[in-house]
């Protein structure tokens, strides 16, 4: 029995998961509310030694999560474009044609992490995530369970990472069913690695 691949698990991040690490390196536009001494080198646009109040920078999510905690108030942040009102309207109109991979390969995971921070648009964004997935689910299911043609890489381009994993699972069960139907589970065949090894004496004698 194989262990199913679990990418980011919702609102808690998995320390060891590479998907989570990649996801939390995406950046958010934020404004500093307090001056920070000595870290002026982080801001590429000025060459001052300190960061003054009101400096605008794009900070990665892992930094924003610690700095923007409601009680600490070091920075204030805003959502990136895909999670804002205009994109939400686009997703409400028709979620299944939007290219979620181009927007950010970790659309759902990043969105869920953003919900841990307080923002006045959190509720609409949460609802948007749920509705988007619900709409796209049908297409993903139909595509992955009927993968007879060979243009699957094209179809996978518009899906984000979580959806791609689901797609692969559907394809895998379809392929093993087809192989069983053709009777291949009954045959014993030498593994590919062994037959390519070129050191196999039996092949040379034939």
């Amino acid at each position: 029995m194989d262990v199913s691949h679990k990418s980011s698990s919702g609102m808690l991040q998995d320390y060891m998961s590479i998907d989570d690490i990649l996801m939390s390196s995406e950046r958010l536009p934020s404004v500093f509310l307090v001056p920070v001494k000595g870290l002026g080198f982080l801001d590429a646009s000025t060459n001052k030694k300190d960061i003054a109040v009101g400096t605008k920078m794009d900070l990665p999510l892992w930094l924003v999560l610690s700095l923007a905690h409601p009680r600490k108030k070091f920075i204030s942040f805003d959502y990136t474009k895909p999670y804002k009102g205009t994109y939400r309207e686009i997703l409400k109109a028709d979620a299944s044609v939007v290219d979620l991979h181009k927007i950010g390969p970790f659309f759902y995971a990043f969105g869920q992490q953003l919900l841990t921070l307080n923002h006045n648009e959190s509720l609409q964004m949460a609802k948007c995530l749920v509705l988007t997935f619900m709409e796209r689910f049908r297409k993903i299911m139909d595509w992955s369970i009927n993968a007879y043609e060979h243009d699957n890489s094209e179809r996978q381009e518009k899906l984000d990472e979580v959806e791609r994993n689901l797609f692969k699972l559907g394809q895998k069960s379809l392929q093993s069913f087809q192989q069983w139907e053709m009777g291949e589970s009954r045959k014993l065949s030498s593994s590919e690695l062994v037959s390519r090894h070129r050191k196999r004496k039996r092949d040379m004698s034939e």
Binding site: M1, L123, M134
Partner: protein
């Protein structure tokens, strides 16, 4: 689970054969298989029937439901009904597949049967997909589907459980946000 595993479990089903040899009773762990006399039908598990058939020592008698008219009626019922019709056997697909592969000469109209069974499979798969989609769209907590065969459940299992997990994560984060908003 692999389809091969489901087939393995399906091979426990009993099927009637007519042996052309004589042998006494065999005692297996899961039960006894009655004495074999040439020309007299006896019930054996499917795996044993196929093994004996491959040694050309018996004739397999197809189960009553593996008959063109009955399968056609099943197919018409399946098209007409909105829900899943009852299958003659929970391991319908596997048993049919095995018998049609190994005991082709004992089953009349094997090719026609193969096409009909494939059609029934496709119709049920389409019904299953639209039911799952309805389930996800309604965000229901649980659903009930009667009369699904083991092979169908097995093909859909990994995809369905993974996507419902993801759905659950998203809904949890939504209710968390709602609670947070209301306490502020």
């Amino acid at each position: 689970m692999e389809p091969g595993d489901v087939e393995f479990i399906a091979e426990k089903e009993l099927v009637k054969i007519v042996p052309n040899f004589a042998l006494g009773k065999i005692y297996f762990i899961s039960g006894d298989v009655g004495p074999f006399s040439p020309g007299l039908p006896v019930d054996v598990p499917l795996w044993l029937a196929i093994a004996i058939k491959q040694r050309q020592k018996c004739r397999v008698h197809p189960p009553e439901w593996l008959d063109v008219d009955k399968i056609e009626t099943m197919k018409d019922d399946e098209i007409a009904s909105e829900f899943f019709t009852e299958l003659p056997n929970p391991h319908f697909c596997e048993v049919a597949q095995l018998l049609l592969t190994h005991a082709t000469d004992n089953i009349p109209n094997a090719d026609l049967l193969r096409t009909l069974i494939k059609d029934i499979w496709d119709i049920r798969a389409a019904k299953l997909r639209s039911n799952i989609d309805k389930f996800v769209k309604l965000q229901a907590g649980h659903a009930r589907l009667d009369n699904l065969s083991q092979m169908e459940i097995n093909t859909i299992r990994p995809f369905l459980t993974a996507s419902l997990d993801h759905m659950y994560q998203l809904r949890i984060s939504q209710s968390y946000t709602e609670r947070n908003m209301s306490t502020q």
